[in-house]
Symmetry: C2
Subunit: 412 residues, 2 copies
């Protein structure tokens, strides 16, 4: 993952230039200093989940906390495969199921207690991004003496974490190959992130055929999430070199093409595989390396919506993105025009944004607050919550109460 | 770096299908199982060479073998910067200069003796791909009791190597972020490669401004080398998923654009930076992950030319590539047509190959054997030498004496 020199982050702080304008430097092109380091081993493909016991035992793990979400992994047989692989290598485990979408800190706390009681020496996530992000928080929490939420609010830094392993069952968040995690505090309605080199998974297994049973809804939300990861830096960077723009466009075009293929045929494993690998590459540091002054306004705003109303993150993002783009396209017209041409083959910046919105409509992910059951009445609450996020993303000076309200109004 | 399950290699063995046809499976698209693992830390940008002492000391290095090529790094001040950084962190060093282009095994042997005598505990390469590939061989040789050439001919495997660090002064080979190295045995005229996860550099410093003094000639040879790394898999794969094709095209288009910019203005650091990062990404496993049955025929043939006649590797490649393409385009017309459209905006496979050859001519890297001072007379010797390479690349069944001669005849 790309670790910025100063911010150690995917979620880079806005540079002076991007802070001033809110979005990128039109036409700017300059490769910024960076450190690229991503030690996660990816095991990609059919049957790779059978190697999990070997990965753990090679790492010296004796007892693992096995985290998962619903009981689906038991019904569908994946749990048995994992259990057999662990048993074969003499790795003991403690189970923790029931992790939900938009994962919550209370569950993380429960898991930290359980892991401490059983003296586990590693964490294994079997599930999608919500399970994996929870697992990262658990891994850090087990090496921290205080309350794990302290790590999210900056009361304490993450010095170390238990070694973390993952078997992915849904491709979207990129968490399998990065060092970040997002969790919601359901009491305070804060959806915050942590990030530390200690949170890179040691090994992540990505078997696209395990994702066949992902619902049509979650497939299109995932497409929205991956596109969001790609466009944040692309449009907000103070400088966006053409090399990095081309990589982003390669990934967005792949997501669009493979999503359409999967909507026609959910058994198309080749499309599923390309979708999954694009999702990993979209947030593993590849596209952000060398990009300066980018920021994460769409996430800062969406996290408010899902923290308050528990909507799927990808559904929230497909509402926020077109609204944010309409607000920002006049601030970086060259890059929006480039996007229009390279992704949708249309001429103007406005047409490009309209084409993305139309594509979201076509695949069936929401583009209006009303589709989330929200409206003008809820905007003030979303704005207030989002104001609690923009500081952490380093964009509080541009994303004021008025700006966020303007953007959300575009989504009515 | 992408480590194939079976071959541990960038230089994947040909699959049955590619072995049968010699090139790819027209229209095939299938994401293959793979393991992606690349633990090298890249420090990219201005002034990063000043961090070298810190990287070594953080890794516990006490005494390093500092390898370099010509005395240019002393004249231009880089050596002093490195020495100061090492001294500040209390890291001692032993110098070994005089490593040449198309690096030779006798020099590697000399370095292994020197390193053993001084009991160094790490290797530092300051230079381009030749110095770095030598450094990899030295690092492995210092952990092997026999003659280091044994590792190149498969007499022994590479179990471990001394930790390796690099400061890059020329972007081309991608060696700074992969686990392979190529060295010539000048007695036997064999140019062979080694590859092992033990050979990943721990950290590589890529400061594009250190490359400003690269000559015009070596710039265009480097462009040829990077393009060669990208097209081998692109055209030879049994299956080449569109995602990976798009990544390759993003990188080739960047190389073309930035090479042209640098020929106009060698001080264009932004172009230099994008060129350098494209060179790294071209051979760090990114583009080969998920690609099945690819092979390295252009390298197998070119290594024969530079082993025999000591021509610059990139110059040899720009001669071999168009000749090989003319031979192979009828075997994978869809991918050649795609290349023509996405890289040169022309319609047919033949036009695409002609456009690449014309571009090589335009930037001034050779496209004919005669420009290397070679002709029909030398073809038999090149063929015989190349036959010694094709086995290691897993393509001996297709690349017979007759085939290689046919390809070389295209370069007359």
């Amino acid at each position: 993952m790309f670790l910025k020199d100063k911010s150690h982050g995917l979620y880079g702080r806005g540079s002076r230039r991007s802070r001033e304008s809110g979005v990128g430097n039109p036409g700017g092109e300059h490769v910024e200093n960076f450190t690229f380091f991503n030690p996660t081993k990816i095991e990609f493909g059919l049957g790779k989940e059978q190697t999990i016991g070997r990965h753990l035992s090679e790492h010296g793990v004796k007892k693992v906390l096995l985290c998962y979400g619903s009981e689906r992994i038991k019904r569908e047989g994946l749990f048995d495969v994992v259990a057999r692989s662990l048993a074969e290598k003499g790795v003991a485990w403690v189970e923790l199921g029931g992790i939900v979408s938009n994962p919550v800190i209370s569950k993380v706390r429960e898991a930290v207690s359980l892991g401490r009681a059983h003296q586990v020496d590693a964490i294994l996530s079997v599930g999608g991004g919500s399970v994996l992000d929870s697992a990262k928080a658990i891994a850090a929490g087990l090496r921290y003496d205080g309350d794990v939420w302290d790590l999210f609010v900056g009361k304490a830094g993450i010095e170390s974490a238990l070694p973390l392993f993952a078997i992915l069952t849904l491709a979207a968040t990129g968490s399998e190959m990065n060092a970040a995690a997002v969790v919601t505090n359901e009491e305070t309605r804060e959806k915050f992130f942590i990030m530390s080199p200690a949170l890179f998974p040691v090994a992540s297994i990505v078997n696209p055929t395990l994702m066949r049973s992902v619902s049509r809804e979650y497939l299109v939300y995932s497409a929205s999430d991956v596109i969001a990861h790609l466009i944040e830096g692309y449009f907000t960077a103070a400088e966006h070199p053409k090399l990095q723009s081309r990589l982003v466009e390669a990934l967005i075009n792949t997501v669009i093409e493979t999503t359409e293929a999967l909507l026609v045929d959910p058994e198309d494993d080749d499309a599923r595989g390309q979708f999954a690998w694009a999702a990993t590459l979209a947030l593993n540091g590849l596209t952000s390396a060398g990009v300066s002054g980018s920021s994460w306004p769409n996430h800062a705003i969406e996290h408010a919506i899902s923290a308050l109303f528990n909507v799927p993150h990808g559904a929230g993002l497909s509402v926020v993105m077109p609204a944010w783009m309409k607000w920002s396209l006049s601030r970086n017209p060259a890059q929006f025009k480039r996007f229009a041409a390279t992704v949708f083959g249309v001429d103007t910046a406005e047409q490009g944004v309209a084409a993305l919105e139309a594509w979201f409509d076509k695949i069936g992910t929401p583009t209006r607050l009303s589709q989330l059951g929200l409206g003008e009445t809820q905007i003030p609450a979303i704005v207030e919550n989002a104001l609690g996020n923009v500081g952490a993303f380093g964009i509080a000076d541009v994303y004021t109460r008025e700006t966020i309200a303007d953007i959300l109004t575009n989504a009515l």
